[in-house]
Amino acid sequence: MSVPMLELDKVTIKFGGLTAVCELDLRIGERELVGLIGPNGAGKTTAFNLITGVYQPTSGNIALCGENTVGIKPHVLSLRGISRTFQNIRLFASMSVLDNVRTAMQGNRAQRVSDALWRGRAFRESEARVEHEALELLKIFNLDRFAEADGKSLPYGDQRRLEIVRALATKPKLLLLDEPAAGMNPTEKEQLMELIRFVKDKFRIAVLLVEHDMKVVMGICERIYVLDYGRKIAEGTPEQIRCDPKVIAAYLGTEDEDDA
C-alpha cells in the first residue's frame, strides 16, 4: 500500500487529568470505508475532532496523504480534503438548503470578494456555476426540490442527508461521518447504508464512520477499529470484530460482571 490517506500515529490527548484518547494508531487507505466503534465515552468523537483539527493532540502524529496535519486549523484541513458531519446536526440555521451547500463551496474558494463587489461578468458566472453545481449535488440526493426551503424545516432524516451533501460540496478526499444513523428507523438506516456505499463509490472518497448501530457498521464497513476508554482494543474485518472477546467484553461486560 502506498501512502495511506489518513494515518494516526500514537495519538494521545489529555484534558487536564482525563486522557480521552491514548496512543491511538489508525490507518485509512484511499477509498476505504472504515468504521470506528466503541461504547459511549470511548473517545470516538474526540478522535474525529483530532483528525479535523478542532483539538490538538497532546502527543503523536496525524498525517493526511503523508503530510502532517497537527496544528493546522480546521478550515485549512477542509481545503486539504477532510470533511465531516456532526453528531448533533449542525446545519446553518438561518440559510436555505441551497445556501448551506453554497457555503461549503465557498469554503472551497468558489468566488472572490472583488468579483462580488464589482458585480461584473465574473460574478455572474461564478454565481451561476455555484448554483448549478449545488443543485446538481442536491439532485443526486433527491433534495433539490427543497433548495429554497429553510434547512431546519426539513424532516430529520433529510437534514442528516443535507449535512452529508454539504460535506461533499467541499470536494473532500476523506469524509468523516459522526453517527449518521442516529434517530433513524430501520428503513431509513437501510437507505443510509445504500447512500454511504453510493457516496464512496461515486465520489471516490475514503469514509470514516462512527456509529452505534452494529447492523449499519457490520453491513458496510470494510474494516473496523474498536475503542474503549480512549484506547484501541481491536482492529479488523467485521467478522473478526464480531467474534473478538475483548470487544464483546467492552460492550456487554464479562461473565463475572453478569453475576454481580
Binding site: 486549523k73 478550515h75 446545519l91 446553518f92 440559510m95 457555503t103 469554503g107 458585480r119
Partner: protein, 308 residues
Amino acid sequence: MRGKEKIFLLVAIAAAVGLSMASSIFNRYYLGIAVDVGINIILAVSLNLINGHTGQFSLGHAGFMAVGGYTAAKLTLVFGASVPPAMQPLLFLAAILLGGTVAAVAGLAVGIPSLRLRGDYLAIVTLGFGEIIRVIFQTSEFFGAATGLTGITKMTTLGWAWAFAAITVYVVACIVNSTYGRGFIAVHDDEIAASAMGINPTRYKVTAFVIGAFFAGIAGALYAHHKLVLKPDGFDFVKSIEIVVMVILGGMGRTAGVILAAIILTILPELLRPVAEYRMIIYSLLIIALMLTRPQGLFTFGKKGAVK
C-alpha cells in the same frame, strides 16, 4: 437586468447630488435632519455587517466613528486654508477617505483580539475599546482634549451624505448577497460547522470589523463637517447603543430593515422635541419594550442579507 446593482448605485448618487444642488429651496432645518439620516444609515448598515450578518456583538462602533471624524477634521483644519476653493471638495474627499482608512485600521486593532470571544465578553471588550478610544481623544492635546475640535468647515451636504450612504449600502449588500457572503452568515450561525466546511472564521470576522469600521469612520468624517464641533463625549457608549438599537430595530441582518430603522430613529427624536426632556426615557423604554415583545426587530421582511 444586468448590473442592476451598479445602476441603482449610480442613480442614487446622481439623485443625491442633484437634490443637494437644488437644496437651497429646502428648509435648512429639514435639510440638516436629512443629512443626519444619511449619516445614520451609514452607521447602521456598517454596524449591521458586524452585528447582524456576522453575529459579532460590537458595542464600540462610536469609537470608530470618532476615529474617522477626528482624523478627517484635523486634516481639513490643518490644510483647509492652504487649499484653493476649487480644490476644497477634493480635500474633503481625501479627508473622508483618510478618516475611513484610519478607522479601518482601528477596526483591525479591535477585531483581531476580539476573535476568540463570544457574546457577552465580546460586547464588553468592544465597549472597552470604544471607551479607550474616547479617553485617548479626551487626553490628547493634538485633538483638543476635553474641549475637542472646533471651527470645522461646513462641508457635508445632502449630496455627500446620501452619496456615501448609497455607496455603503451597495458595498455591504453586494458583499453579503453573494456566495462569498454566505461565509459571514455561516460564521454567525455555527462557527464550528463553518470551519469544517472550509470557511475561515477569523478572516470573515476581521473583514466584517474592518469594513464596518471603515464606513463608520466615513460617517464620522461626514458628521464632523456637519456639526462643526467634535467633542469626545459625543462618541461615548450611549452613542454606540443608539446605533445598536437601529440594527436591532431593523432586525439584525436585514439591510432594508436596518435602513428603515435608521431613518425612523433619526426622525423620531425630532418629532419628540416637544417632550425633549422625556426623549431618552422614552428611548430606553422603547429598547426594553422591543426586547420583551419583538426581539427579532420590527422589520422582518426578506431573508437575511436581502436588500430590496
